[in-house]
Symmetry: C2
Subunit: 338 residues, 2 copies
């Protein structure tokens, strides 16, 4: 691994637009800052984690910060790989993806449960289900369905998602104690002092960083342009979820690349990214409701409430898509490709 | 009953704005035209109804036309009662409401079934429910829920609503053969030749008709201004349905009063009324799905599909409210009251 001698010239905020600045002088400080954040969060996480706990508030925050810097490092390693030692970059990126994925799971189950219980509460907050004035069926006319069913559905989801969360917590602790993780931490510690650049990194930032950053943007624009059109009548068409998830990942790559090149985050991209995060959350929550409805031997009232909940979350999916489209600053389709 | 001698002056289209025209000269031709339509539809209905049928296409069209003129006559009798023999007007109005309500029921059940089956088809048109990747529950992961459940829910709804429709059909035929109905038909036949005006109807249309028509408009504007605000998070709050239903009835009274006074229907009011009709249909369809879910001993998959369907129709309720608000030509709230 080579360290071009321009590395010491790095200023506090790198801006690739500045003429004469080398790629390493922009990328180096960014990676070192992120690596230092990673190591600080790791220390905080160790200090606040007792093996038996299902995550204290401080440990949760430390894990979130760990994931935050893992994602940014991994994203920079991917987008700007031509400026870095390619083998090393690819390997560390894979390991960081494993780490942040493992850490994300516990948090995701906890969030999903909160989201579903809040939605159930909103649904059953209605005074009563409509009386059966409209049916030819005289039996059980006045009995509310969602009341009992919502409570049972909530208990079922709580049981299933708490179990999943506990398993994810154990898996995360196990991962953080593994030799695989220690290798990742060592690699990040190296990065904090000494970025393994390729020889090319001595070249001007304008070419070496802006090119890949533009490519990340073009890939995102292409994905947005290719998003399936909204079909309000069919919010349950789960086949359309995948391109949206893919767009979320590409937006993240573009957003982080933009951070590196411009030296600051873009609030418009952050808002669009937030909409896609909510989209993912609603998709997963709807999936959890549908999965719970497959539990053998549940009561019809429970299944009914889970059906209502599933549909409700699929409408949240649709709402998130609308918010994304409204927040998207580029031309919507077709034109964005040119 | 008095017939003011201005009645013979009636022109082909009454316009209350025209100075010097009497109230009777505007209201008379309108009521006579509607009464003639009523009698024509009744004849058509008799010619096309065999007692065993559940309504041929021609009989359905004739029944719809009968309801159409019943609603208009009843509405005019209510709004412009000061220009008419008050006891007679109130009595015929009540009887016409009974008649059009009885005739509407069969049609409503048929429409509701079509709406629900189409919605179920849209919901289960999705390739498959999301796989249970998100749950801690390993059992039955791949089995789609909505497929079987949607088919069963459709069969259940078809059974219940077809039964209700058949009963409504028998009730309608029975009503059309009753002495009560013959009295209504006789009263309408009288109306077709000879409107029982009050002495006041000889007065100018500008005062006698515009006053009540303005009042109908003001009542509608008040009801719209008092509509509960939309709560997108709570489309299941069925307590909000009643003021919307009330608004639908007031809009109809205003729309028909406008027809009488201006001599022509208003397409903007027709569009707003259509949105409120769809609102009512979606409310009733959601109620029918909830009612079907109360059927004893149904399978959880059936209940789940009915829950999805209920939520879907409640979102249609919300969509109809949005369409109404968008189509509403007056200021939305508060201002509309002044």
């Amino acid at each position: 691994m080579r360290r071009p001698d321009h590395q010491t010239q790095a200023g506090p905020t790198g801006a690739a637009g500045t003429t004469g600045v080398s790629a390493g002088a922009v990328l180096g400080p960014y990676l070192r800052t992120q690596a230092a954040d990673f190591l600080r969060s790791l220390r905080l996480h160790r200090e606040n984690t007792a093996p038996a706990d299902t995550g204290s508030r401080s440990a949760e925050q430390a894990a979130a910060a760990l994931r935050r810097s893992s994602r940014r490092i991994g994203s920079a390693l991917r987008t700007f790989r031509t400026a870095l030692d390619p083998l090393w970059a690819e390997q560390l990126r894979t390991e960081l993806a494993w780490l942040s994925g493992t850490l994300a799971r516990e948090h995701a189950y906890a969030d999903r449960l909160t989201r579903l219980l809040e939605a159930l509460h909103g649904l059953s907050g209605a005074p009563a289900l409509p009386a059966a004035r409209t049916s030819g069926e005289p039996a059980d006319k006045g009995r509310p369905v969602l009341g009992v069913g919502a409570a049972r559905a909530g208990a079922l989801l709580e049981r299933q998602l708490t179990l999943a969360r506990t398993r994810a917590h154990s898996a995360a602790l196990q991962a953080l104690g593994s030799s695989r993780f220690h290798a990742v931490a060592d690699a990040v510690a190296l990065l904090a002092s000494d970025v393994p650049f390729a020889a090319a990194a001595a070249g001007p930032a304008g070419e070496l960083l802006s090119g890949p950053a533009d490519l990340a943007e073009q890939r995102l624009l292409g994905a947005v342009a290719a998003l399936p059109p909204d079909e309000p009548a069919k919010p349950y068409n789960e086949a359309h979820d995948a391109p949206w998830h893919q767009t979320r990942l590409l937006l993240r790559l573009h957003r982080y690349a933009h951070e590196v090149v411009s030296g600051a985050p873009d609030p418009v991209l952050a808002a669009a990214g937030h909409a896609l995060d909510l989209h993912r959350d609603a998709v997963e929550a709807a999936g959890a409701a549908a999965a719970a409805a497959r539990t053998p031997r549940i009561a019809p009232a429970t299944a009914y409430a889970l059906g209502v909940l599933h549909a409700d979350q699929r409408h949240e999916v649709e709402a998130a898509r609308t918010v994304f489209r409204a927040s998207w600053p580029y031309a919507a389709t077709g034109a964005a490709r040119s």
